[in-house]
Amino acid sequence: MRVFPSVHYTMGGLWIDYEADASGNIVAGSPRNHQTNIPGLFAAGEVDYEYHGANRLGANSLLSCFYGGMLAGPAMVNYAKGLERSCDAVPASVFEAERKRQEEAFRRICALQGTENPFVLHKELGEVMTDNVAVVRYNDKLQAADNAILAFMDRWKRIDIHDAATWANQAVSFTRQLWNMLELARVITLGALRRDESRGSHYKPDFPERNDGEWLKTTLATWTPSGPEFRYAPVDISLLRPEARKY
């Protein structure tokens, strides 16, 4: 088998909340723990952004799935207990409308009859990201990568789906996920472009030092139709002061 150190984690994820007490410790059982900004939607494991910081150390995926799961489970139970109405009280039309929306999205992809192949686009996206947005990053290359992703997004619209089956259709689900990968690739690339420092697994030879004065903060990206919008949130260092990392 050929072995290659591949990128397998985005080192970020869905924003989730938590509740801390006066001493800075997490309040176990709080329904805020691990809840995303969509009320009632919880995230635990590497799908959330919470635990890794600027680096994701080996085996930390286990930390995030076990610890995140331990917090999210009771939080979800308490959230559900605190609700005034259950999903049974939501009119059927709400679910029906969403079902129609999802079916429409499926049909739109089934109807793609251009010249591009989604699996080829995916391979090219991987190559662009590996070449330009891995550990060592230069601003000109990051900008070029974003331009390349925008070009992929344009080509995505000209995909030939090859498969319109409504049963076990991997081409459609892959193509749908590929769009999300393109959106996320922009978040990673543009987030890295803005951060002019070196921290964790983000290394810019033009800015080789960690700059806590300006960049000790979490990057938050919000989806908008015209691309990701960036804001920054402070990092909670009340329990542990950051130190220089020297391996």
Binding site: M1, F119, K123, H162, A165, W167, A168, A171
Partner: protein, 249 residues
């Protein structure tokens, strides 16, 4: 002379009730390819050797390091994982077929649900409800732990069921994998506490007595699990259990 292309012959079937057909593909050769990377190449250009446009072949894969069992299929007549099937070691054309003992989903994807149902029937887990800290478990000697490790390598891939003459679409036989898991959980110091439940289940319908001793399973297992030893060990354990139950132990 170095190869330039790889020929693949894939058995296609659009769904459980559709007719099967064969399609041939030719893809550029790259050193160190495996069957998964060959299939990935096919879906990047889903046209048959005759130049006919087709659907990208459908297959399952997950870990790509032979520990999950998802990509089990019949490769050149032998059931194995596509991820660890190296193209350089295979005769050409590479013939790919879905496993035959499980309901077909589409192309090379089958539904291995009967294996997971068998694990449920056999109580193949250690019940810990997590409501309180049990503290450290009992210590296990190195021999027991080495044996447990070899049994724990089972990835429910389905190879042992595929080659077993006792497994048919209508039989209820649980197969070697689940029997071996009973052995694993019954030898665990905490799992032992529920040994009786597992032995009762193992003596039930589709259990141990349906084994026909063909011994194909142990040869097909990609993880080299001593499946026939497990079946024999469970034969002894169930016999001892029945005698104990008869004469009141």
């Amino acid at each position: 002379m170095a190869k330039n292309t790889i020929e693949l012959k894939i058995k296609r079937q659009d769904g459980p009730n559709a007719a099967a057909r064969w399609e041939e593909f030719s893809i550029p050769y790259k050193p160190k390819m495996n069957v998964i990377s060959a299939l990935m190449e096919v879906r990047r250009h889903p046209y048959t050797v005759q130049g006919r446009k087709t659907t990208p072949p459908v297959w399952d894969a997950n870990c790509l390091e032979e520990v999950c069992g998802a990509c089990s299929m019949i490769i050149n007549g032998k059931v194995r994982q596509a991820c660890s099937a190296l193209v350089d070691q295979l005769e050409l054309p590479i013939v790919l077929e879905p496993m035959t003992k499980f309901p077909l989903v589409r192309d090379l994807v089958v539904d291995r649900q009967r294996m997971f149902d068998a694990l449920k029937r056999m109580h193949a887990w250690i019940p810990i409800d997590g409501t309180y800290n049990l503290g450290p478990g009992p210590r296990v000697d190195p021999n027991t732990s080495a044996m447990a490790y070899s049994l724990a390598r089972c990835m429910t891939c389905g190879c042992c069921l595929e080659v077993c003459p006792q497994i048919t679409p209508t039989s209820t036989f649980i197969g070697a994998a689940a029997i071996s898991q009973v052995r694993l959980f019954n030898m665990h110091p905490t799992g032992k506490m529920h040994a009786r439940e597992r032995l009762e289940a193992l003596m039930g319908e589709g259990g141990l007595q349906d084994c026909g001793n063909a011994q194909n399973c142990v040869h097909a297992c990609p993880k080299e699990i001593p499946l026939t030893e497990s079946i024999a060990a469970m034969g002894r354990e169930t016999t001892a259990y029945v005698l104990k139950r008869l004469f009141g132990g």
